[in-house]
């Protein structure tokens, strides 16, 4: 009797454990099923490299190049903001902050990482937009620069927190050896600690990028939303995520537009999947290099 009960519990847990796998597979299936039909009507290269996105015209065009470029621009801009700030802050926490400062700053950074994206977007709209508009004398402050800035600030705590973790895994003996041969703290930091933690920091940056490219609400609210090929950081862009969020409500279910939006989501999903896998591989190597398990 007891044995049967034990077996039953084991089975229940085994079945439930597969749920996460099922959900991931479910997402893949849904994206393919709802996204692929677009390619019956628009061929793949025209979809990805087409320069015009006019899904609601009487003769609609489904070229997502402007959207892809919009995502890339905003993400690159965000990386320019969040990498120096995030990694710099992590190095500060690791090298310069004393015990007390770190005990306060580290949790604060982690708490700030939980600020909802819609609040960032709102802040961008009401504070940063008028500021950029005045500074550069633009008709509107809703532009790629605004999106990059906000996304960058948003990703900074994530990058900082992960990079600080990576730095803390570097064994003390590395530093001591460096000091022993006469290097000062800065030399030790730049020539011993950073290279040792390098791949861990790289993982932090990739995960930050992955977060930026998949972020929806902030870019939807502050980038201006024009589906044109971006030519300047001061012009409006429409990243892929913003396009899905803005248009899915109006796209008739099962229509070409609907399938096109799912196809965009598919591309987005595959992109972040690749980012995450790269991050995973790098971080595994990093752990092996420093002799850490799992």
């Amino acid at each position: 009797m007891v044995k049967i009960k034990e077996k039953l519990y084991k089975w229940i847990f085994t079945v439930l454990a597969f749920s996460s796998l099922i959900f991931l597979i479910g997402i893949v299936i849904v994206l393919f099923k709802e996204g692929l039909p677009i390619f019956k009507e628009v061929n793949v290269s025209k979809f990805i490299f087409g320069k015009a996105w006019y899904p609601t015209y009487s003769e609609p065009e489904f070229g997502i190049l402007p959207l892809i470029l919009g995502s890339i621009w905003v993400t690159v801009g965000a990386v320019i903001v969040c990498v120096p700030l995030g990694v710099g802050s992590a190095l500060y926490l690791h090298e310069l902050a004393d015990y007390k400062q770190r005990a306060i700053l580290k949790p604060i950074i982690e708490i700030l990482a939980s600020i909802p994206s819609v609040v960032f977007g709102f802040f961008g709209m009401v504070i940063v937009t008028p500021f950029i508009q005045k500074l550069f004398n633009l008709p509107t402050g809703l532009c790629a620069l605004n999106g990059s800035l906000i996304l960058g600030i948003m990703a900074t705590p994530t990058v900082c927190s992960l990079a600080e973790d990576a730095l803390s895994y570097v064994p003390k003996s590395f530093r001591e050896a460096s000091f022993a041969v006469g290097a000062n703290r800065w030399q030790t930091l730049t020539q011993v600690v950073i290279p040792a933690a390098g791949s861990g920091i790289a993982t932090a940056i990739i995960l930050g990028m992955s977060r930026a490219i998949g972020e929806t609400m902030t870019v939807l609210m502050v980038t201006g939303g024009a589906a044109i090929i971006p030519s300047s950081f001061l012009g409006p862009v429409r990243p892929m995520t913003a396009t899905i969020a803005a248009e899915m409500g109006e796209a008739p279910m099962g229509g070409t537009h609907y399938h096109a939006l799912f196809a965009i989501a598919l591309i987005l999903f595959l992109t972040t999947l690749v980012f995450n896998i790269i991050a995973e591989i790098i971080s595994r190597r990093f752990r092996i290099k420093l002799g850490l398990s799992g």
């Binding site: 802050s89 310069l96 909802p116 609040v119 972040t272």
Partner: protein
Amino acid sequence: MKKNITQNIGFLMLFLCMIVTIIFLGSIIYFISIRGFKVISWEFLTQGPRMGMTQGGVLPVIIGTFYLTLGAIFFALPLGLACAIYLCEYSPKSFVVNLIRISINNLAGVPSVVFGLFGLAVFVNFFKFGVSILSGSLTLGMLALPLIISASQEALTAVPQSIREASLSLGATKWETIKNIVLPTALPGILTGVILSIGRVAGETAPILFTAAAFYTRGYPKSIFSEVMALPYHIYALMTEGTHPDQQKAIAYGCSLILLFMVLLISGIAITLRQRQRGVHV
């Protein structure tokens, strides 16, 4: 001497990075608090919207967020905990287990708008739940699942092996050991993970855009199949829809402050607790 100058400049740069980060993030909290505080009143917290979203309060909106979050956790907690228990206590080290681990990691990295589309295709359209609390909760629950699994896993792994062995040696079965010994010991860590994911779920907008949220509903939600207003979506809608941008902006400030306060409070509690637990265990 030269190398010390480089060092000083370098350290100054790092200090500046930290300061700039704090100033940026601090200014968000500052501006929203200062301007949001003016809007918040007893009436704002206890009444529904009136006059086409230009006056009144946001109580139904707060309650909507509460329902959605509760629903998401109700769905994700048992599933996530079971998954973590399997991985930590039962799993034979095999290919399949690795597959589950990888899929959890990747599920955590899926953009939230993609969850939204999945929810739309599966819960809203395929299962015909419609745009409803149920669809929104399930979608948000999927988002919370990887968070709960990894937090529970961490908590279960932190339980010393010797306690398990002691229980087994007294004749307890595996399930009895898990139920009476392992879970109670790991409970604080699991709770921390749950609180943290509550904070995350409460602030998410993209997953509920097409699965649950409405800009305006009359009164309070009646069942799990009704549309709801939710704080994060409300902020977005107030800023992009409607006909009175200035009055709506004021309300959006109020909503942002409430959301920010809620989320920071929740994750503040969770992270402080986690800090303490890690201090005890490690």
